[in-house]
Symmetry: C2
Subunit: 207 residues, 2 copies
Amino acid sequence: MAKSEKISEAVVRRLPIYLRYLSYLQQVGVTTVSSQQMGKNLDINPAQIRKDLAAFGDFGKKGIGYDVNYLVEKIRQILKLDQEIRVALVGAGHLGHAISNYNAFLKDQIRIAAIFDSDPAKQGKQIAGITIQPLEELKETVKERHIRLAIITVPAAAAQSVADLLIEAGIEGILNFAPTTIRTEKEVRIHYADVTSSLQSLAYYLT
Amino acid sequence: MAKSEKISEAVVRRLPIYLRYLSYLQQVGVTTVSSQQMGKNLDINPAQIRKDLAAFGDFGKKGIGYDVNYLVEKIRQILKLDQEIRVALVGAGHLGHAISNYNAFLKDQIRIAAIFDSDPAKQGKQIAGITIQPLEELKETVKERHIRLAIITVPAAAAQSVADLLIEAGIEGILNFAPTTIRTEKEVRIHYADVTSSLQSLAYYLT
């Protein structure tokens, strides 16, 4: 297997898309799939798919395709989804609610283990069985519950200070929904999931 | 300028990230920025940034860097953000609410122009000044209001039928928040914004 440092972020971002599609195939009982078929369904060049997967190992059989079950297992390993990964969510507004509720139904090893909000009116209430805590408890809770990732769903103006708090608490990766750039000197992975950026990249393809 | 077909999706996805950062620099009064500085703040290799931007034209000056205002204008042009782009949102749950409300505050040319939900209890109510309509009105509304993009925030089980409806109505691009793969035979761009995939790609970087 190639070293993780050599895999580009673009590939890492495509792996979950492959995984979701392959899991769907599992559900409907499909056991083998070609890169052609995957490419057609996912709107990704089949050669790109073959190249992406080849970076991690020799998964496909020429003329036959990929074994769906085996590939699902492999991608889950590559993405480190064979372990439980705990997530903190900060910002219990509409978006935070939506994500927490949705997450509660996931059969996934990545799960929200704590929710924080600065609004005293929200603290103590529950979303999907998790009690909303004040930000003052964040640092201690993150350490106690071995939380490694965080989701930021606070307004843009509060995102940087929340990120600083999370990073100080030892969070290793942040998924930021606030429409603002987060700056950090530390070795923390920050991914942006804001709607604006997604729509903007979609607009590029308008004819 | 290079032909749009030759620009990889990875580049197109990074452009909004550059744009957001450069807009931030504009706000704080910074007029020139180097790829080194950009790379440091955005956690992207400076050589990658130079390569990405060079694909569209010769924007930077060696030893000086990029003119922030000029680059913002150029990226907005490349992303086609110099025109108004109307968006339909389908699914007025927590996530739909959060996106619609947030969108209302955006000073952006991409704006939500219609909201749909299959729940009669929600129809007729307003989010951020936009009245929630039944799905039966989708096709006509999309055509009348020249809506070109759509956001899907319905549960996974409903996503495919909603997408079919949108594509039939002539939508050119879909941002899908539902955790499911959307299949289509038509030339429609589908981007996935679901939280699971984002968290999964973040998990890859855990050590």
